[in-house]
Structures are given as C-alpha cells and as structure tokens.
Symmetry: C5
C-alpha cells in the first residue's frame, strides 16, 4: 500500500519509465515515417480519431473499475479476517468455564494457532517462502499440516477438532460452540475468498486489447498532429499516450492485490496488527513491534 500522497518525479519515472521510453520511440518513429514517406496521404477527420480516444477512455475506465473492485474486495476480506480474529480470541478467552490447567492451556494454544492460520494464509497468497506461521504450531502439527496441499485449511481442521474436544470436556456448551463454529466458518470463507481473487486471472483479453487500442490511438494521434505541428507531435504524442497508459497501468497494478508489490494489500502489516491485538489480549510478553514502511515511508507491505 502506497503511503505518500505526493510522488516525486523519480518515483513516477520508476513507475512508468518503460512505457515512457516506448512512447517516445513510437512517436519519433511515426513522426519520421510521416514526414519522409506518408506526408501527403493521411487526412483522417479529427472527429473520427476523437471517437477512438473517447472509446478507449471508456474501456480503460472499465478495466480500472474492475481492478479497483478486486483490490477493495481484497482489502475488505482482510478487514474481515482482522475482525473475526479479534472475535475468535475474545470469545475463546472469555466464554469458557474451565479451571483445569490442561483446558486453559488448550484454549491458549487455540488462540495462538489462529495466528498460524493468518500467517500461513499470507504465505500462501504471496507465494513467497515464509514459515513464520510455524512458530505458533506444535511440532507434530507442523508436520501434519505440511502434508496437505492447502496449509491454512489444514490448520482450520485442527481448530475444529479441538473445538469439539472443548465441548466434550464441558468447557463450553452448545451455545458457545455455535458462536465459535460460526467464526471458524467465517475464517474458512475469508480464506476461500482470498484464494478466489488470487487465483482468478482477470480476463486477459480486456487488458491486452486495451493496450493494443492505446497504441493504435497514439500512432494515429501522432500522425494527425505531425501534419499541423511538426516535430512538436513527439512530446505531445508522448503526453497523450502517457495519460492513457499511466491510467491503464494503475489498473493493472491493482488487479492482483496479493502480489508482492508496493500497491498491494499490506498483508504483513495487517497480520502483525492481528498478532499484536491477540498477544495483548492474552497479556503476554513480548509484544512484537509494528511493521515498518519501506523506501523511506513510500509504502508498507
């Protein structure tokens, strides 16, 4: 997640340098072609090219809308994970009547094991090696869950097993069981929803065709401007192209909100906040520190 509201020229360039160079090369090429080979031929009415530009602006808008919706839905899902994690810890911690040490220790483990779920889900979504989650599991649990393809799902299974155990020992009754199981179901739903966004490729035809259309327009536009403003068509061609390409790029960065890049959902930060809330609720030490922004405060992961 980007944190700074103002970007420096160098940050913009870092974000768009590839398309900037391509645009300059393209516009220059068009200019020379036009001046030296095609000058006399092309007088497309400007109104017709305007329609193309307007249509492309629509299609870029469409892509950005869907991309933003994916990004915001991803953020909502991890917001729900935050909420349900707090409710899970609060409910397990308070809603039992057990005074036995073994049961109390089991409950404490179930609260910690949820942190393993959160971190294992983060690892699965980011697709980067990270076994931080193992610190909240017992050794035999680590082995058991790593046998399965879907580790966070396997952790939920452990939670369900122990929930039934709590009930059988009388530490919780049916009503508390209902509340806790509903939270387990919600964890499972949020996990699946994250995976849905992670694994569903945004229809590539939209992105690809829109990119092709923008290049059509840049070329056409530069041709048209060369006729009236000569070599100025190169910077202006770049400028128009930049407006369309930069906006289109914005959308493509939001489309995969769980990738490891600056505009993504800050999973490290969210998971750490859940961890802090949980450990403070249990009154334990040490409480881990918050995640630090990167690149001099530019973004947080």
């Amino acid at each position: 997640m980007l944190l700074k509201h103002r970007l420096s020229i160098s940050q913009i360039f870092a974000f768009t340098w590839k398309v900037d160079l391509l645009l300059l090369a393209c516009c220059t090429l068009v200019y020379f072609l036009d001046v030296h080979y095609l000058y006399f031929k092309l007088e497309i009415p400007v109104g017709i090219s305007a329609v193309l530009g307007t249509a492309i602006a629509f299609f870029i808008g469409f892509n950005n809308n869907q991309a933003y919706d994916r990004w915001w839905e991803a953020r909502k899902i991890w917001g729900a994970i935050t909420n349900d994690s707090r409710s899970w810890a609060r409910s397990l911690y308070n809603y039992h009547n057990s005074t036995e040490v073994a049961t109390q220790s089991l409950i404490r483990h179930m609260i910690y094991r949820h942190l393993a779920f959160v971190y294992a889900l983060k690892t699965a979504l980011r697709k980067r090696p990270d076994d931080y989650y193992t610190r909240y599991l017992a050794q035999d649990e680590i082995e058991a869950v790593q046998k399965e393809t879907n580790i966070p799902n396997a952790i939920l299974n452990l939670q369900a097993k122990d929930l039934q155990l709590l009930r059988n020992t009388g530490a919780i009754d049916g009503f508390t069981f209902l509340e806790l199981d509903q939270l387990l179901v919600k964890h499972c739903d949020s996990m699946g929803q994250s995976e849905r966004i992670r694994n569903t490729v945004f229809p590539p035809t939209y992105l690809y065709f829109t990119k092709v259309f923008i290049w059509f327009y840049v070329i056409l536009n530069t041709f048209l401007m060369t006729d009236t403003i000569g070599a100025w068509s190169i910077p202006f061609g770049w400028m128009f192209g930049f407006v369309f390409h930069a906006t289109h790029l914005n959308g493509t960065f939001l489309q995969d909100p769980f990738d490891f890049q600056p505009l993504s959902i800050p999973l490290d930060n969210i998971a750490r906040n859940i961890e802090i809330n949980t450990i403070q609720l249990l009154g334990e030490e040490p409480v881990p520190g918050p995640v630090k922004p990167r690149m001099d405060g530019l973004y947080i992961m």
Copy 2:
C-alpha cells in the same frame, strides 16, 4: 479461464477472425460503392458521426459491465461452493461423538457424497455428458437420483435424510445439526444461483442492437473517410470496427460463464481442488492430481 497475459497474433486471430474478415469485406464494399456510385452525395458532418461512435461505446460498455458481473458472480458462487464444501467436510469429520463403525462409515460416505453433489452440479451446468460424480455414490443412490430431473438437488435430499439419521442415533446434537443444516441450505443456494446464471438468457436485444449499431457506424465511418483518405479508409475502417467489435465480443464471451469455452469459469479445476482438499482431510489415498492447463498453458477449464 485464460491464463496467459500476453496473446499471440494467431490467438487474437483465432478469437476474432470471423469479424476481421467481415469487417474487411464490408469496408471494401463501402469503399467501392462510395467511389463508383455515391461519391458526390454524402457529407455528413463528422461531429454527428462522432456522437454515434460515442453512444455505441457507451452501449458496449453497458453490455460489458453486465457480462463481467455475471462472470464474476459465477466465480463468486463457485468460490462459495469451495468454502462451504471445506466447512461441510471439516464439520462432519470433527463434530460428532460416535465411536460406532456404522456411524463413522456413514459420516465418511456423507463427506464423499458431497463430492458427488459438486461434480453432478458441474455436469448439469456444462450440459455435457459426464458421470464422474457417480463414483462417489452407492449404486442404489445413483439409480434414485437419476430418476429426478435435477440430480444435484436429489443428492442434497439424500444428505438431509442421513443428517436426520445422525441426529436420531445421537451422533450429533441439535447445535451441530443447526450448523450442518445451514451448510446444506448454502449448498442448495449456490446450486440455484449457478442455475440462475446458466438459464437466464442475457436480454438478446441489447447484444443484437449493439451489433447492428456497430455495423451502422463502421459503414458510416468508412464512407466519411473515403472522401478524405481514399482507399486507406479500408484498413482504418477495419481498425475502428475492430476496436468496437473486439470489445463487444469480449463481453459476449463472459456472458455465459458456465459454457464450455476458454474464458469460462474453470469448473473442472475448482471441483478438483475441492476433491483434493476433501480427500487429504480424510487422510486417504490416492489424492487425484490437479487439472492441467490446455493449449500449451493458454487456458484451464
């Protein structure tokens, strides 16, 4: 679901060849008509044709929005099926107190029978012969469910019957019954939602009129350009037409997300993932392998 972000020229051509050829034929025809018969007559102000182009871009945008929503809703429904399937297996597996072999075997069968539900629903949505689901049903169950028009619905009925049985034998109590029945209701909802999208024809007037309007615009546009750029109006007429038609086609492919075509929801893949999760939860062998992409990684079904 398409997997590749970059499409080759041949893939684009495979996607659009029909409309490409029609466009070239149409533009060429218009050009000859204009040059040989109508040259002197048509001087429609370009601003008027621009309005038509802009309006059509709106209507294409409208169709694409609705088509994308259908596609994404379909994906969400099957995401919910994934989540509820995991919760179903996890809950049945853990939330019972039975030590009797018969009951444990019944529970195991109910977990497997849910896979039959998922695969039977897939078959019903795809409308292609596929009886993979029968492997998770007993012989008499296969006969019973095939008597009914709606096979997945008949499977849910079997699940409900056995759920009551579990309760009567004391394997589960009222609270667990509540949780499990709520999952059955959710399975039933997701089934009906899939059928709704499958069986509701997107209002064909929108698609049909938009297609007609695009052809209007292509013809008008080519006429207008012929006056100023001669035979160049053929490639440019094609280009403008391509932008509109390709975007419109994109939408029509997403409109029926359960059809058997590359842009559809990858039901094979989703169903297989549910199967893998379930079999691993039960700790059984062999675990089936994941579904493989087709056409050299281009898409997955």
Copy 3:
C-alpha cells in the same frame, strides 16, 4: 424471457414499428420545413449538437442501468424463491421423527401448500386472473385466504400455524423449528421484495424527459444534416433516432420485470420447475411437464 440470440427483421420491426414510423414522419417533416421555410437560418455549430447527443447517451445509459438492475434483482428474488422452496420441501420431508399418519399427512400438505404460495404470488405479481394455486389448498383454506387482500401472505400464516402444531405434537424440536421458521421468513422476504419491484413505479420523469430529449436531438440533427446532405437527412435522421430510441425502449421493457410481456422474468417457467422438483422429491405421480416456449421458441413466460 427472450430465448433467441438472433432476431429477424420482422421481430425487430414488431418491437420498434411505432417509433420507426414516428421517426420517419418526424424526419420528413423536418426536412420539408427546413427546405421550404427555414433553410437560411440555422447554422448551429455541430460540436454543440454533439454535446447534446453525448449527454442523451449518458441519460439513456443511466435509465438502462437502473432498469437492468430491477430486472436482474427480480430474477435473483425468484432464484431465491426456487432455492428456499427446495430447502423447505427437503427440510420438512426429512427433519421429522413422526410415524403417525396424521402428522405425515400434515407435513405432506405443508409441502404442497408451499406450491400454492408460489403460484398465488405469481398470480398477484402478474395481475392476471389465474387460480392454479387453489389446487394445492383445502377448500376451507381457499375460502380463508381469499378473504384477505394479500393471498400469498395469508398462505404463509397457515404454514406458521401448522409449524407450531408440528412442534406441539413433538414431530419437530426447537432446532428444526428454527430452521423451518427461518425459511418461512425468507419466503416472506422474497414475497415482499417482488411486490416492491412490482409496485414501485420507476421515476417517470427520467423516462419522460429522456424521450423528450431524444426527440429534441432527432429534430436538431435532421436540420443540421439537411444543410449538407439534403433528402438523405431523412434516412440518416431515422438511423440516429433509431439507435437512441431502440436502446431507450430496451430499458423500458426491462423496468417492469413482472409484467406479462416477452422480456419479463419467466415466472411460469420458474414456478413449474419448483413444482416439478417438489413432486419428484415426494415421489408422486404425475409430474407436470415443463413450460413450453412461445412464438416458435422466441420467448418463454
């Protein structure tokens, strides 16, 4: 619901003949007025008229969006009715422990009576005389419900009375009561949601003003074209008007999705599917046949 993806010229004409004739008359009139009386006066810059056209395209888009949302919401509501009907039948059929004939017969009647609810709701929404629903009610029930203004609501009341009876006889316990009553509440919600769409008039000012604006634009446009293309302004004026009016008409047909017309939600078909699923669940005979498309497969009601 229209079923055919391709419409014939005669079907389009059947859909739009009124506006086609009005457009031709209007454009011809404008042409003659312009040529014989006003020729020298009107030189509105075409860019200004283009703004009008673009603005109208927006407003048509707005109306279509809202109309489509009403139509799709109506479809979702009847999808929910389908789902909840299946859950109602499945739950009542399986989740009881009664072996008494009287109770079993009561349960069977409650399942059938739900079909009366579905058909009575259909009749109320369509506002066409149709007492098919009475076949699933006892004689005294028919008399009782017809005394009330809202017949489907009165049927729900009968269901609630018998649900309490089931509970008092011990056929169901509190947990099953919870599940069944929640379904009754959902039936009641879907009923009210259907009525909301049926009885809420889409703000007529939007439709009316948009229609007036389109006529403004058609007249202005024809005037402008007459100056440059003479009598060709009549067919082109018709064409531009057709694009706007046809799209606007599309929206108005979707706005009242429970009216009895080809683009409406196919209530006959949905209600019949519920009936078929229910009767097959009960294992009874004869199962009624599916609803047949009308007009040679053009649409289904």
Copy 4:
C-alpha cells in the same frame, strides 16, 4: 411516488417553471450583451466548449446515480419494514402456546403496538405533526414514549420488555424468543437506516458546483451560438440548458426520499398496507381502506 407515465405540459412546467424562466432571462441577457457589447471578441473553439458540456453531463450523471441509490435504498428499507412487520405479526400470532386470556391479550397488543412503531417512524421521518400512531398505544405508553427524543426507539423498548415477559410466563420458549428478538433487531436496523438517509445531507458541494457549472455552460453556449444563429440562440440556449437542468433537478428530488413531495417514497401507502395485512391477520374489523392517489392519480404519498 409519481404514478403516471406520461406528464402533461402543465405538469412539466409546474416541475421546471423556475429554471425555465431563469434560463430564458439568462439566454436573452447573454444575447443582448453579445450583440451590443462583445460581438467581436469571443471565438472560443467549439470543441473546447464541447468538453465542458460532456464533463458536466458526467457530473450530473454522478449526482443522479447517487441520488437514485439513496431513493432506491430508502424504498428497500421500507420494503424490509413491510416484510419484517408481516413476520412479526405472523410469528407472535402463531408461535405461542398460551391459553390464558391475559397473555393472549398481551400478544394482541404487541402486534398492534408494532403498527404504532411503523406510524411513529413515519412521523419522525416526515417531520410533520401526525399522531396517528398513538391509537395503537395505551395511554401510559403514549406518555412514556413521548418523554424520549426518539419515539419509535422507545416503542421497541416496550416490545422487548413484553417479549421477556412472554418468555417468563412460559408462553414462548427460547427458540421462539430467538426468532422474535431477531425481528426486533431488524426493526431497529431499518429504523436506523431510514434515519441515516433522512439525516445525512448529500454533499452540497456536488450539487452546488454542478449547478454553477451548468450556468457556465449555458452562458458560454449562448455566446457561441449567437455568433452563428443570432436571436435563435435564445430558444436553443434555453433548450440545451433545459436538458441539463431538468436532469439535474430530477436527481435533487430523489436525494431526500423521505421529504413530503411527489417523488418521495410513499410512506402513507406502505404503512397503510402493513396496517391492512396486520388487521386482516387478526381477523378484526374494520379494515382501513387503502391510501388514495392525489392530484387526479398523479402521485401517491
């Protein structure tokens, strides 16, 4: 809620006369200024003014979308109130086992008291004096609720008190209590949602700036047209201004859907329908008649 699909000229004039006169005055003034003082100066390219018009059409569209959403959300909330009112009456009436007269009379009073809630909420939203709700409360209840700032909320408190009483007397058990309390929570939610829409001012900067922008455009447009079509710029300036202003006005009328004006949600009508359903359920007399449309069938409140 407007009921008529066609508006007469006089009704349109009644709706827009203020802006019509202002537009005519403005366009005339601009014409005279242009002809007598500024004629030689202003030759803004028409494409630039077209951008302004298009941008304003967007912003009007934005306002209308949000306004329509508020209106439709308000309608949905009162649809939910209708549904939950029916469920409240149906559940209280059927789901108890008491044969004591006192309890039965209490239940009947709780059903009637809900009508007091509905009418008191209507009064609070409309902000017009109306104490119809008092007829469904006992004298001491009227005094008690009128001591509080929020009368419908105070009525819900009375309902909760008696619900607990029903439970303590054994007339209902815990399961029925769950169902009834969930309905009370829904009544409370709908009440708060209505108040949210009632009390949240739509950001006035949007409305105000859009209005200012439209006047900018009208003035600019009239100037531009005066140069080419002389005094005809007055009627055409009015026409363009009318299209924008009338659409903008449409939105502003929908923005406050609980105000007492013709386009508002018909609270009188909805509350009366709830009243009729409830009294018919109880089998009492007299049933009040439906609310009548006003202004010769033009609208209903």
Copy 5:
C-alpha cells in the same frame, strides 16, 4: 457534514482559493509564453485536446465514485453502530431475570461501558486527543484498556468477560447469550470496518496522476484559446480548470471520511445521539444536549 445547501462566494473561495490562485497564475503564464515566444508554433487540432478533456472527466468521475463510496460506507458503518448500540442497550436492559442489586448494577455498567466503546472508537478514528470515553469506565478499567494499543478492542474484551459472568450467575440463559454475543461481534465488525477505511490510503497514483493530467489540460487549453481569443484565455482557462479541479477536490475531501474536516462523517453528532438514546432508555438524568452545528450552521462534526 456540511448542512447548508447553498454556499456563499466566500465559502467557495475558502474551499478553492489555493487552486484558484494557481490556475490564474498558470493561465497568465501560459498566455504570456504563447504571445511572446510560441505564438507561431502550436496548432493542435481542437478535437485532440477535446479527447484529453473527456478522458480526464472520466478519470475524475472514477475517483469521485470511489471517494463517495468510501464516504457513504463510512456513514453506513456508523449507522450500524447506532443500530447495534440501541439493540445492545435494549437487550441488556430487558432480557434478564435478575433481581440482585449487584447484577443489576453490572448490567447498567455494561450499558454505560458501551458508550465508552463508541467514544473511544471515535477518538481512535479522529486521531485527536479526547478522553471523554473514560467517564464511562471504572478507574481500573481505564488503566487496563490504556495498556493496549487498540483501546476500543480492549473495551469489547471487558464486555465479553462480564457477559460470561452474567451467564454464570444465571441472569441470562444461552439464548439471550447468543443474541448479546452476536451484538458484540457486530460492534467488533463495525470497529474493524471503520479502521479499514481510516487506515487504507486511497491509491495515491490515481489522485496524483489525475491532478497532473488536469494541469496538462489547463495548459494545453489555454494555449489553444490564446490563438483565437487572446487575453480572454486567462479567465476562460481559469473557468475550465476550475470545473475540473473543484470536482476533483470534492472527491479528495470525501476520501478520508474520518478526518477532522467539514465534509467528514459527523462522529461527534452520531456518538452523542447514541449517548442520548441510551441515557433516556435508562431513565437517568441529566441527558446531554445535542451537538451544535459550527460556523453559523455551515457544518456539524
């Protein structure tokens, strides 16, 4: 929340003075550059610049849509907090059977402690020092909650502890526990949802690029107008720039709806209304007065 529908010139100027001055400076600079240095060079077709303006209007519209959605979602969340607070107070107050003084006093404290939750959440969202919430907590509770990073979350933990206590003392049973815990879960959800909006930075690339694009357009536009209307390009350049910048600014003000500024969600007002409802329900004195509008009725916080 702004309360006035009409803004005075001085209020608009207070809202936009910075961008007004920048625009005037920019347009004047462009005018002088054009007249004295570049006059002969730049003849970009106006249709091309129109596309840029239209595209920017789209992107501004996109930002405004997302910003408005954040603002309205924030308002909905605090509407839900209002509703759930009323249900919390109503349920705790009525749904218990305890006659012991200690329990009744505990219940009263739990109702008041919820006000501490609401005010502590407000403080956390506004990020301004404000310890009003402490008046509804006991001294040891204040110390306990201030040890944690997230104070409102810590308060929820206290509520859960006492809820279990109520149950253990027999003041409430399992059914009432279910209802009350579900309200606690909802409070927790609303808290997390508020934090999500507060802490998620709207992707700054959208805002930043849109601002850059507007400046591109203002400069280009002023150049183009200077060629035809001379120094009049300065006021008109300002006017066009004002339309785009003011609309863009509108969006940026709504984007962070919990900041302390006039367009934000009026948390003071909402929290106070909850406080008034709660204290009146308990029948206590004194009832605090409503929050007063600021700046002569311009806005309320």
